[in-house]
């Protein structure tokens, strides 16, 4: 049976995953769009930078984020200067960490999907008086639908399971930064296997149902390509 703490952790997890996915899409979409359109010679450098955080083990990435968030770190100083909340041991910090770590899973599929849209539909929209913003939302986004689905699923799932970064910068504060993955990890570490099985099963089932809902719904809206 799940404890109250588990349920709290579930709440934090869902909130984190939902927010992180939202932020990832909000940041990743314009970036992916730009990457898919630009003819900038050095865009491949930026592409590499986006994928880079992936190669660091999450705990190590978390370690460097911790240093960056600290009072002497660049992000810590920045936040202090603008009067923002401290990032370490806070939900905002988790959000930042999760976003950095999951970014490539959102940007890459979106970039591919935008590239696959091609120029023609956007040109057509332009001749039909659609402004750049208008045609982005009315043409590019709907046609890049499969990419958004992939980006959302990968971003969300990865944030739910993400663990090392969160462990390192979160401080495991119940209700604030204790997410389900940590709770689950703790059960395994504490040899509470029964509990761990229960929680894993629940997490898998919930996620499975969510994924099925997402993929199942998507079937109905799939764009046909001849």
């Amino acid at each position: 049976m799940p404890t109250g703490a588990d349920l709290t952790a579930l709440g934090v997890t869902l909130k984190l995953a939902a927010l992180a996915t939202t932020v990832l899409l909000l940041l990743g979409t314009p970036l992916a769009w730009w990457l898919s359109r630009t003819r900038w010679r050095f865009k491949f450098v930026l592409e590499a930078v986006v994928a880079l955080p992936l190669v660091l083990p999450p705990t190590v990435l978390g370690f460097y984020l911790l240093i960056a968030f600290g009072p002497h770190g660049p992000l810590g100083k920045l936040m202090a200067a603008v009067g923002g909340p401290p990032l370490a041991f806070s939900f905002s910090g988790l959000l930042v960490g999760s976003v950095i770590y999951s970014m490539p899973f959102v940007v890459q599929p979106l970039q591919d999907a935008f590239a696959a849209v091609g120029r023609r539909p956007l040109e057509v929209a332009a001749t039909l008086r659609a402004s750049p913003i208008d045609r982005f939302f009315s043409v590019a986004v709907p046609l890049a639908r499969p990419g958004f689905l992939t980006a959302t699923v990968l971003g969300f799932a990865h944030t739910v399971g993400e663990f090392g970064v969160v462990l390192m910068i979160g401080g495991n504060i119940p209700g604030e930064t204790q997410v389900l993955s940590i709770a689950l990890y703790d059960h395994v570490e504490g040899l509470e296997y029964g509990h761990a099985h229960w929680l894993s099963g629940g997490l898998l089932l919930t996620s499975f149902l969510m994924l099925i809902a997402v993929y199942g719904l998507n079937r109905r809206f799939r764009v046909l390509r001849p």
Partner: protein
């Protein structure tokens, strides 16, 4: 060639001991660092370790009880010493009164249920009557290693860490610390067990109990068994 699972917090000292050991005998030792919980799970599922240097006494006991460790081989190889440490000079006074005045936002401890240093930290805070008052300001690392990083990076102003960790910095951070009196917490016994029957492993554990190793252990900031 033997494989030894070692708790991460003992890594520095373990490396030095292995170095001496290998110089002395014709055996080679591969260290696998990790958390004691993980090592335990791995040993249960057949990990090919010959000896296990845990961060606590509980997991070695379990292994011995379940027959996964050689019975009678278990012994305490080091005793952890808890300190209240800050990377800021002068923040922590030698009496630990900073805990009462509370001019800090975060106090880092290791996981009180999973990590021996976390359990000890909780005992100290309880003994001082500050556990409930400070509960909202606690940040918990999975193990004492993370708790230390919280403090070292300055994100937590102070925290309960292992003296061995502070020693290992060798003054690269001019912080401030309070050696917590040992009567405030039950001893942090780090125990070792023999997992396999191999002579080299026995030899290594013998060496670990020897004077030469003891010297290193003390020097690393642990109390002698």
């Amino acid at each position: 060639r033997i494989r030894v699972a070692v708790a991460s917090n003992f890594a520095g000292a373990a490396r030095k001991i292995v170095e001496r050991f290998e110089a002395r005998v014709d055996h080679q030792v591969d260290l696998s660092l990790g958390s004691t919980g993980k090592h335990y799970a791995q040993i249960v599922h057949g990990a090919p370790f010959d000896a296990f240097l845990a961060a606590d006494a509980w997991r070695p006991e379990l292994l011995e009880r379940d027959g996964l460790a050689r019975s009678g081989s278990r012994f305490t190889y080091a005793r952890g010493r808890l300190v209240l440490w800050s990377a800021t000079v002068g923040l922590v006074d030698p009496g630990g009164r900073v805990l009462d005045q509370g001019e800090f936002r975060h106090l880092a401890i290791a996981h009180p249920e999973l990590a021996p240093y976390g359990r000890a930290a909780r005992e100290v805070l309880t003994a001082l009557g500050r556990w409930d008052a400070l509960a909202a300001r606690l940040v918990r690392g999975e193990d004492v290693g993370q708790a230390f990083q919280f403090v070292a990076s300055g994100n937590a102003e102070l925290g309960f860490v292992s003296y061995s960790q502070v020693r290992q910095l060798e003054g690269s951070i001019d912080g401030s610390l309070w050696q917590v009196p040992e009567n405030l917490y039950s001893p942090i016994e780090q125990q070792a067990v023999l997992l396999s029957d191999r002579e080299a492993a026995r030899a290594f554990l013998r060496f670990l109990r020897g004077a030469e190793a003891l010297e290193i252990i003390r020097d690393a900031g642990y109390g002698a068994p």
